[in-house]
């Protein structure tokens, strides 16, 4: 942003114009769009983040809203108007109880291994349950855990955030309370070996590694 003035040839359009551009781009697509993508499509020197901030305020309380989906942005209709769109409603296959629980465990404990899911539920996780979540693209494979056997982990996706109207995994309902109550701790059975306890503890350390303020443009100018 600082040195745009060095190249007057590429002087960026005024911010109000940039806001129109972001508006047009986000309106034109059903998929959330990232900052880099916005910047690539807008003229040189534009500041999509600032434009998003303006846009978010403009649409506050409107029938359509600017929402954040992880690191991406999208326009979505206001949830209170869903009743108008009965014809657009897509019937989602009803998830089994096992699938819903597994999804919740992945969301709240991510990154989380299959063994951890099984320990929390007290039953083996059937292949189909995870497959269903992978197919819905609500869950994807994360990094392998740096513990014996290097098990794969599961994490939630941006499609998951988008579907449930969450701007980030940190906004999961009741996350803070659950954490405060120690219910997200990887607490080990008292008779378990110490090695296992060791490998579990890094599950917690890596949970929400990007747990920092990623200056959401929507909050940007409120302070």
């Amino acid at each position: 942003m600082a040195d745009d003035r060095q190249s007057p040839l590429f002087e960026a359009p005024p911010l109000s114009e940039q806001e129109r551009m972001v508006e047009a781009i986000l309106f034109a697509t059903a998929e959330p769009v990232g900052l880099a993508d916005l910047a690539a499509r807008m003229p040189h020197g534009c500041d999509p983040r600032a434009a998003l901030g303006l846009l978010a305020r403009r649409y506050e309380g409107r029938g359509v809203q600017l929402v954040r989906v992880g690191e991406l942005y999208a326009m979505r209709t206001a949830p209170d108007l869903g009743f108008l769109m009965s014809r657009e409603t897509v019937e989602t296959r009803k998830l089994s109880r096992a699938a819903i629980e597994t999804l919740a465990i992945v969301a709240y404990h991510q990154p989380c291994t299959r063994a951890e899911i099984e320990e929390i539920r007290g039953v083996a996780v059937s292949r189909g349950t995870i497959d269903q979540l992978l197919e819905l693209e609500w869950v994807r494979l994360g990094r392998r855990r740096q513990s014996p056997g290097r098990p794969v982990t599961f994490v939630t996706t941006e499609a998951f955030l988008d579907h449930f109207g969450l701007s980030s995994a940190r906004d999961l309902p009741g996350l803070k309370d659950l954490r405060a109550a120690g219910l997200l701790d990887a607490r080990q059975a008292p008779d378990a070996s110490e090695d296992a306890a060791e490998s579990k503890s890094d599950a917690q350390a890596t949970m929400f590694p990007q747990d920092q303020d990623t200056s959401d443009p929507r909050d940007g100018d409120q302070t």
Binding site: F27, A28, T29, A30, E31, A74, M75, R76, T77, A78, P79, L81, G82, M85, E88, T89, V90, T92, L95, R97, A98, I100, E101, L103, A104, I105, A107, Y108, I120, R121, G122, V123, D162, H163, F164, G165, L166, L172, P173, G174, L178, A181, L183, R187, A189, P190, D191
Partner: protein, 259 residues
């Protein structure tokens, strides 16, 4: 944590267990069953009596046995563990005994139940959220982003000069005209070698196999050499001869292989 509660409501417990048995297919494993049983105690999970819970569970398993209902192995494993836990909770702690105390085990079970219930609630809350395609909607009429591909053709002056040089000198080297006269084919060489190897009992320089009229002109010699080399490799593959080369650029030698 896990205080021993007096036995109470045994009849109600048995009734509950019977109701549960009818539903046994509906449970997602022993922990799920335990959670359901725990709810019948009608207390906060933090105040749950693990001892009473163990009794409920064991009662359930007993009931199932009487009704000749086959329980999955993990239900029976849980039953065995709970029986062990029950004995630990009831007997005064033995200082000589290894491992966690009954109270520790009970506390962990209570934690597991609480955690499972928390995740179950979290799942329900998640599903009850405003959801895309039901409560809020994405753009219904998206506009396609068109990809416009522009091809820019380039050539440099050097390309131009080289192309011209190439055109002007094409006659000199006839790149596409195959010179049949001066090329020995692999088949020709193979044919020759087949007839000759019978005599090669000792290591012999491959070069000595080249026909006399192919060793004069360098181009002809090279072609003959290449074909003979390829032919030797064929023969090695067929197990007819052995081949060796002492070092890089040293003469290649071949020998008949007996047997």
């Amino acid at each position: 944590m896990a205080e021993v509660t007096p036995l109470g409501g045994a009849v109600a417990e048995r009734l509950a267990a019977e109701a549960l048995i009818v539903d046994v297919e509906g449970f997602e494993g022993p922990l799920d069953l335990l959670l359901t049983l725990a709810r019948t105690q009608k207390v906060d999970l933090r105040q749950i009596s693990v001892l009473a819970l163990a009794r409920q569970y064991l009662g359930f398993v007993e009931q199932a046995r009487e009704l000749r209902i086959e329980l999955a192995a993990d239900y029976l494993v849980m039953a065995a563990w709970l029986a062990f836990l029950k004995s630990r909770l009831l007997l005064p702690p033995d200082p000589a005994e290894e491992g966690p105390s009954g109270a520790e085990m009970a506390a962990h079970l209570a934690f597991q139940l609480e955690r499972l219930e928390a995740m179950r609630d979290a799942g329900a809350r998640l599903m009850a959220r405003d959801r895309k395609g039901r409560d809020f909607f994405a753009r219904g009429l998206p506009e396609r982003v068109e990809r416009v591909r522009q091809v820019r053709w380039t050539a440099t002056l050097l390309d131009l000069m080289q192309a011209y040089a190439h055109v002007r000198t094409r006659d000199d080297f006839r790149p596409y005209a195959m010179d049949r006269e001066d090329v020995m084919t692999l088949d020709q060489a193979l044919e020759r070698m087949r007839g000759l190897i019978g005599f090669a009992g000792a290591w012999t320089d491959l070069a000595s196999y080249l026909p006399g009229d192919w060793t004069g002109a360098p181009g002809r010699r090279r072609s003959a050499m290449a074909s003979h080399f390829a032919a030797s490799l064929e023969l090695v593959k067929a197990g007819r001869i052995e081949i060796r080369q002492g070092e890089s650029f040293a003469p290649i030698e071949i020998r008949r292989r007996d047997g």
